[in-house]
Every structure is written in C-alpha cells, then in structure tokens.
Subunit: 149 residues, 2 copies
DNA sequence: CTTAATTATATCGCACGCGATATAATTTGT
DNA sequence: ACAAATTATATCGCGTGCGATATAATTAAG
C-alpha cells in the first residue's frame, strides 16, 4: 500500500535538498555579508557589477535569473547605501545605466575573503564541487531554453 | 590584475547556481501546486504530514530545515484551508499536535502526479540525480553537525 | 505618419525565511 | 518547594521572489 505513495515521500525528492541547501547557504553567508552591509542577493548583484558595470537592469536580471520585480527594489536599496548610481541612458531612455560608486567599487576588496571563507565551510571535495557546478548549470540552461525568459 | 578578483566572479561561485536552481524549482512547481491550492513550502509540509502525522511543530521544523518563525504562519495558512488541525498535547501543553483533516489526507491522491511531472521536466540522467541527491544531503548533514540547530 | 506592438523598468500584493525577541509550560538545581 | 534554566511555540520586522499589471520610450506596420 505504501508503494503507491513512495514517490511523494520527502526523502525521495531531489527538489527538497536543493531548496534546503540553498536556504542553508544564505544563512551561512549572512554573518560575513553583514560586515559589508549586504544581503546575499545584494551581494550577487554587486558581483555582477564589479565585473561588468555599467550595465542595465535587463542584463542584471538575466545574469541572476531574477525578475525585474525582484531587482528593482534591490537596486533602490543599493542606491540608498551609496554603492551604486542609476541614470537614464541618453541613447535610449528606457534603459537604466547602473554603475558603481567609488564606495561600491571599493567594497570589492572587502569582499575578497568571502568566497574562500564560505568554501572552507563546505567540506566537499574539489571533484564533488565540479560535478555539482556542472549539473546545476546544465539544469539552468535547460530552463532558459524550455521557457522564454 | 584580474587574477586578484577571480574568486569573486559570479561564474566561479557554487552558491549561485544552487540559489538559482532552487528559485527555478519553486517556479516550476507553481502551476502544478496551484491546482492543489498549495505553495511549494506548504507542499513539503503536507508531504511530511502525509507520511508522519500527527507530529509536533519541532518535528516539522527539523524535517524541513526551517525555523519556527517560518513554520508557524505556514500552519496557520494550512489550517485556514482546512487541510490540518492544531490541538494542544494533553501530556505536555507546550507541544502542538498537528494532524491532517480528512480533506488534507485526501489531497495526497491529487498530489500523486506531481513528482513524476516535475521529474520529467528535468532532463538529467538517473545517475546525475543520484549524485546530486547524495552530495546535497551530505552538505545538509554537515550543517546540522557544524551548528547546533 | 500615426497607430499598434514591443521593450525596459516600476508598482502592487502575497508568501516565504529568518534574526531577534516574547510567552507559556515543563524541568532542573539546590 | 521554588527560583532558574530549558523547551516549544508565537510575534515582529525586514528583505526577498514572483505573478500580474502599469507606465514610459522606442520600433514596426500599414
């Protein structure tokens, strides 16, 4: 009789550990990011900007797999903190030009220790990390081809 | 010069694809769970209950790696929908006894198709799924030993 | 050339997650 | 036995995520 419901058991889901690990990661980052006055989501926005600023909002949304209704308020927060500035693109006034302030750019050096600290907390092998990375990106790519985000 | 910031690039993070895939999964579940009037988080609560009801809140929190301040409001919602009932434990009045209503128990059959539908959407091999499952649980176990949740 | 479609961003409302804190019931220490 | 510590649950406030919808700027179509 239990056979019928076997697939519905929490322990037989792949989605649940993904969800739980993702929550766990956010919790792990918090104490580190508190020192930079950043949340986890704000941190990944800053990572994109450190690498590619200036960018528009659409670029950010695609890079982070997030929607505009998540990113717009995030940018407002980062602007309030003085890490970024938003201006309108003269060429096409629909476009937002999002750029780092001096303070936002300087924050990059304070963040340098974060990846290593987090990595050291997860006791998985280099091989496991590589595999995980590969399959997760495979799933993400598949998503963007399935739907038209 | 770029070498210095290599570790801070979004593409070199393991955490980001975990976060993005987790968000993606919630989005994928939504249309299926809408039919059951459940959110993703409510769904995993129900999965625990279908298997183990009656349980107390602490048990739920541990099973789902969530805190009481997330679970308490969830239970209120599920109670309003008529899927669960909450009573006090006569033995120890601190304990909540959370149990399924007839309607909540019946919902299990409507949910039977969900795992298969989701699984079919993710085009990963059985082997990849197994590996993913194993390493994610390894990370979760490590978390509960590192911290004292 | 002007109306319709498209594109980029913003707003609204709802449901999480969680740190911090509070409250009520039970257990422990002396 | 009774004050102090512990345990289970609840409340508050903030920051996401996102579906639905709105708005403003640009482009396409007839």
């Amino acid at each position: 009789m239990d056979k019928k419901y076997e697939a519905l058991r929490l322990k037989n889901q792949l989605c649940f550990p993904l969800y739980a690990v993702s929550n766990m990661i956010t919790r792990r980052y918090k104490p580190l990011l508190d020192k930079l006055s950043l949340t986890y989501t704000q941190y990944i926005v800053m990572m994109v900007l450190w690498e590619a600023a200036p960018v528009n909002e659409k670029f950010l949304c695609e890079a982070l797999c997030l929607k505009t209704n998540t990113v717009t308020p995030l940018l407002k927060k980062l602007e309030e903190k003085g890490y970024i500035v938003k201006t309108k693109d003269k060429e096409d006034e629909r476009n937002l030009v999002i750029d780092l302030t001096e303070r936002g750019a300087a924050l990059r050096d304070d963040a340098l220790c974060v990846p290593g600290t987090i990595a050291r907390e997860f006791h998985i092998t280099e091989e496991e990390a590589m595999f995980l990375y590969t399959i997760l990106y495979k799933m993400l790519e598949q998503d963007s081809s399935d739907n038209n985000n």
